[in-house]
Symmetry: C2
Subunit: 404 residues, 2 copies
């Protein structure tokens, strides 16, 4: 806060699925809450009256929003909800002796309500400068570096993630093949939707959830990086399957992010060559990865390596939809994507500093040839600068199926 | 839009777990997207280049954000991310011929980024009036009334919810009793955490998730309405359990909201009286419930009924933490809490209009006596004005256990 000359931080929104709030209060089942932290002082968590026990569980100093009597304020302002909320926020800030200086604002909230409320508050408290950071926020920078507890939680999610991936591989292997497709006991084709239901179930069993779903994209769908996979598609042999899974702790905590690409039963020569190209670049980057380096340097290096193999990259053609089309990785924590960034959003602060946790995920995509390959692991830069993959898993491309 | 004199609507944020976006695009796996809808014109969905296929699945007119070359803009502005994003948004609005008039802003987004970006945009486009509605938003009002497809989806979630509640009751019944506690086969007490794991599992099996968790609060925890229940607590006989479950479709769609209060094995005279009081008020309100009534009238009526039974209510004492301490219900849809409101946030527009779907959930809480009772169903006001509970479930208070 000192570096950015901030006098206070204000975080709004729910107590879960709200990374800025979860980071500062540790997660709590609060429908809506307000956290105010003045520089050098203890944070205060304002909560709804009937959520007092949940608020108290955070161990923070708490204060009930009930005392600001929003109903009476709305009546006083003849139903003008905006004026009532501005007045309430002003009263809270006055109680905290925070009516001037610089205050940074964070938290998941309705965009319109944020703009409306804080524009009006800014008019009501002209000496208070509300800082709404876009992109390069202080909190995101602080959150880029993880402490041991955070790393342990991400590592635990890594264990859950690779365990579920193992279960999927095993489950696929129990099916028989008919007409180049996997079929279930009832003779119906095994589909992407069947796999995804199992994934959700296994994640729930292990205390995880996947609020952002899972990518299980086969064939031409594997050729577009963020296509999640149509549930009705059957699992055909010899097609690339991009399996990208990024669950978080149940209730909205720390994430893990992991990708393998599989081909069932056998691989075509063409897809095997593609896999080998991606795997070679993955290995090369992992070998070169070091602490204290500007992340975009590795994005440049990845482009260089793919270009040497003859692929188009977003460096040679920013509009390309074939070849290497995305960035090499991203930080991960309470958001599945956070700092440090490797691609277009990176600033000077995006570095492989000790304590950072991020993904390395090179990939190649050829939608018109019906294939795509991505390999992804989540790594941690240890305090001593060593790079560690937080959950190991084999890199086999061809997944054996019965009789193949 | 006409009634509010709006020229356009702008929705930002992810394609999932973002009610305003999901309502308008039908849900899509988009990391970040921008929807622009001009009055009387087709909406345009701006998406990240590699999410083009997911965007296309919405059936909307789409446009790639790639053409605005944010990387080049950030370079041009020497790393000033805010200026680059303001410029990009300005270019998009210019392409849509939307540089003046009134535009309403919605969507889950970082509060600080929303305030920062749209304050700066407002300065850059002085003829454009950005409307950030607090509380009484047009979109929330539109969303209060559900069409048949929406009701079918909420009803389907109701079926899943009551099916899981039934499974929980059955599961509890399979346990034996020792020292007034339920015990598992290994002799260890059955805990709230055990129940919650099962709930997550069964919800996942049925294609649902509970991003806001589940309340399973026993004894004194049942005495505080939003206390979710400590996982380590054993299930003791003769204590009130408030079981409030509010899952949504997997991926973040429509919610259902449902509460029953149970007492295992037997009920004390005191808790039985409390249950009977709440049930009587529940029945009375359900009998009186009609279409086209101002919702707060039912809140007043509920207070009147509880007061006649001798309980304190938030009407007689707005600060009370005993007796009837919350509002009677709330609309439900893509948010677990939305319009119409019955309590402090209600305006003149909060009415039991045909098409609305809302909860009715009277309750009484006595934390110091170690008990609380709430009964909740989700109802739909049919187009003909009839009130229908969307998922029926028995109102038994005492849940039998083995040998009791």
């Amino acid at each position: 806060m000192e570096a950015r000359d901030l006098d206070a931080v204000l975080v709004i929104g729910p107590g879960q699925h709200n990374p800025a709030m979860v980071y500062l209060i540790g997660g709590a089942h609060l429908t809506q809450a307000i956290l105010l932290k003045k520089r050098g002082e203890e944070a205060v968590l304002f909560h709804m009256p009937m959520e007092r026990d949940e608020a108290a569980l955070t161990g923070l100093k708490t204060s009930s929003l009930g005392k600001y009597r929003i109903t009476d304020l709305i009546k006083e302002y003849k139903g003008d909800v905006l004026r009532a909320f501005v007045k309430r926020t002003k009263m809270m800030l006055e109680d905290m002796n925070l009516t001037e200086g610089r205050i940074a604002l964070y938290g998941n909230y309705d965009a319109g309500a944020s703009y409306g409320l804080f524009s009006a508050l800014s008019d009501a408290l002209p000496k208070l400068k509300i800082i709404g950071e876009v992109g390069d926020s202080m909190l995101l920078q602080v959150r880029a570096t993880k402490d041991e507890t955070e790393v342990a939680r991400i590592r635990h999610m890594g264990g859950i993630t690779t365990s579920v991936v193992g279960k999927v591989a095993e489950y696929i292997g129990t099916h028989t093949v008919r007409n180049e497709m996997l079929v279930k006991k009832d003779g119906q084709p095994l589909t992407v939707g069947d796999i995804k239901s199992r994934i959700n179930l296994w994640l729930a069993e292990l205390g995880a959830e996947n609020p952002e779903e899972t990518i299980f994209a086969i064939g031409s769908e594997a050729g577009v990086p963020h296509t999640t996979g149509s549930p009705e598609l059957p699992l055909r042999l010899g097609q690339t399957i991009v399996f990208d899974i990024f669950p978080c702790e149940a209730g909205g905590g720390y994430y893990y992010d992991f990708t393998r690409t599989w081909s069932l039963g056998y691989a075509t020569d063409e897809s095997l060559r593609l896999y080998e190209d991606v795997y070679a670049v993955y290995k090369q980057i992992m070998d070169e990865l070091e602490a204290n380096v500007h992340c975009p340097a590795y994005q440049e290096r990845t482009c260089e390596l793919f270009e040497a193999q003859g692929h188009t990259t977003i460096r040679t053609n920013p509009q390309t939809q074939e070849g290497y089309v995305h960035s090499l990785g991203h930080g991960i924590g309470l958001n599945v994507h956070e700092r440090p960034y490797f691609g277009t959003s990176a600033t000077g602060a995006d570095r492989t500093d000790p304590g950072t946790v991020f993904t390395i995920e090179p990939g190649l995509y050829y939608p018109e040839r019906g294939m795509g390959v991505r390999i992804e692991d989540t790594v941690w830069v240890r305090p001593n600068g060593q790079i560690e993959i937080l959950a190991e898993y084999p890199y086999d491309f061809v997944l054996p199926v019965k009789g193949k």
